[in-house]
């Protein structure tokens, strides 16, 4: 099938990697700039996702399943992290009734 756009039929691997870089940096920017603790947490997830994309792209490149497995483990760890992290956020909110990262800077109330 002919595409109307001047595009290669197949995508070079580097495109996936560049996409991954963009997503990672966006996540990092959000992590640094946002104040809401939940949004910060979501930015971490975004960075993990970007890394996963790299893993799977290399897995395809090397024709080996290992990259997929790494991504799988990352997801499992992310699930565990989300469970604990959200529980922490709930507790923090219960004790301080705020979600601003800056206001949760002290260890004690």
């Amino acid at each position: 099938m002919q595409l109307p756009l001047p595009l290669p039929a197949q995508v070079p691997l580097s495109w996936y990697l560049i996409l991954s870089v963009i997503l990672f940096v966006t996540g990092a920017a959000g992590f640094l700039l946002r104040r809401n603790i939940i949004t910060v947490f979501m930015c971490i997830e975004l960075m993990l996702n970007a890394v996963n994309l790299t893993f799977i792209a290399f897995s395809h490149q090397l024709k080996q399943v290992d990259g997929n497995l790494f991504a799988f483990f990352v997801m499992v760890v992310a699930a565990a992290e989300a469970a604990v992290g959200l529980a922490i956020i709930l507790t923090v909110f219960k004790n301080r009734s705020t979600l601003e990262v800056d206001e949760v800077s002290s260890m004690k109330l």
Binding site: K94, N95, R96, S97, L109
Partner: protein, 406 residues
């Protein structure tokens, strides 16, 4: 009834650190399971109610005030409109104290007819209660089954009085009309099939594990607390006290009927369900006895100054015509004094405190309605419990808002 500012009267929602935030939910006056226009302000901690404040009066129509402007007999029509599910009990509860003040002697047939129809209306009321209560708990089918019986009973009422809902059939001095032809067969036919139909409801609910989980142990209040709050009727009997005004202070020849007072001791929603279903069976017993032993004789009292004469007599006898004219234009006078006769309505003790100053209009008609008393148990039944449970308890109280607000 209060203006919207009532919300502000709840304590301010605490937002201090260490406390979870509470939500104020305005349940009603338009809500599917408040059974009318009841408004409840709930303060919620998650799904648990920490504070409940009922707000009534949305259906207040000033019946007590209207009664003071109407003649004695005319007030009967107002009583139908309070508790529209048990209108015959209301009629009876109004008529009895007036007859006591008048010193009227009611013939046996009228008394038995009153009992028969009151018990039918008790079955009707409990059927509607059962249906709506089951609907609240999500069992939709029971609702339609119950309304099948209600339909039959309403047809019987229509047969007697020409009206389905606002029958006004029980009047001072007897009943409004002569029983229609074929009434005995019609009621017998209905009564013979009812027992199976009550079994049908029980098949759907009594052993259903989800229904049991939703109702057993839910909405418990101790007997002392219930009595203290002025609760009457099936709720008291479900708490273990065998107190039924039909037995303890018999009226309208209830002492001649043989029936039991069903009781339970758990005082939860399920026991209230059990008591009401058993009461339907007991009512059926009374209906059957009334059908069998219906005495012959006149169906209204021999009191020409109070009771309208027969149409036939009115057109042939001068004296009857004069009485008819006097009663219709002026009404009748009731000796000064006051009286209160309690009656066991499907919801509990209904009684009219009737005071007369000797004129043809009441001085004061106070309606001690069961729903008003029962609804006072709402706050203790709600607080500290789950919303879903509160729906079950609310249903188990079986109130009619028309009866509460009057």
């Amino acid at each position: 009834m209060s203006d919207p500012g009532l919300t502000a009267q709840l304590e301010p929602v605490e937002t201090a650190p260490g406390s979870t935030r509470k939500m104020v939910l305005n349940m009603g006056p338009q809500h599917p399971s408040t059974h009318g226009v009841l408004r409840i302000l709930l303060e919620l901690d998650g799904e648990i109610i920490t504070k409940a404040q009922p707000d009534i009066g949305f259906l207040h129509t000033g019946i007590e005030k209207q009664a003071e402007a109407l003649g004695w007999q005319q007030v009967v029509t107002l009583t139908d409109r309070m508790d529209y599910l048990a209108n015959l009990s209301n009629n009876l509860a109004y008529v009895l104290p007036v007859e006591r003040l008048l010193g009227l002697e009611i013939p046996a047939k009228a008394q038995w007819l009153r009992v028969l129809l009151c018990e039918l209306s008790r079955i009707n009321s409990h059927a509607v209660w059962l249906g709506t209560h089951a609907l609240d708990l999500g069992a939709m089918t029971v609702f339609f089954y119950c309304f099948r019986e209600r339909e039959d009973i309403l047809r019987l009422f229509e047969m007697f009085s020409g009206q389905r809902l606002m029958t006004s059939y029980i009047r001072i001095g007897g009943v409004a009309l002569e029983p229609p032809r074929g009434w005995h067969a019609a009621i017998s036919k209905f009564a013979s099939g009812l027992s199976d139909k009550i079994d049908e409801y029980e098949d759907l609910l009594t052993k259903n594990p989800i229904f049991l989980q939703r109702t057993q142990g839910v909405g418990h209040l101790s007997l002392e607390r219930l009595l203290d709050l002025g609760v009457t009727g099936p709720m008291i009997r479900a708490a273990g006290l065998a107190w039924d005004i039909r037995k303890s202070e018999p009226y309208s020849s209830y002492e001649k009927f043989d029936f039991d007072i069903p009781t339970c001791t758990e005082s939860d929603v399920f026991s209230r369900f059990r008591v009401r279903v058993d009461e339907m069976r007991q009512s059926l017993r009374i209906v059957n006895q009334a059908l069998e032993g219906m005495p012959e004789g006149p169906w209204k009292a021999d009191a020409p100054k109070v009771v309208l004469p027969d149409r036939e007599k009115m057109k042939t006898q001068m004296e009857a015509l004069i009485y008819h004219f006097k009663i219709v234009t002026e009404g009748f006078r009731v000796p000064a004094g006051d009286a209160y006769v309690p009656v066991e309505s499907p919801r509990g003790e209904i009684g009219f405190f009737v005071a007369s100053d000797g004129t043809s209009k009441p001085l004061r008609v106070f309606m001690r309605t069961p729903s008003f008393g029962n609804l006072q148990s709402l706050t203790p039944l709600f607080e500290g419990r789950l919303i879903a449970d509160s729906i079950a308890s609310l249903g188990s109280m079986d109130f009619v808002l028309g009866d509460v607000d009057r």
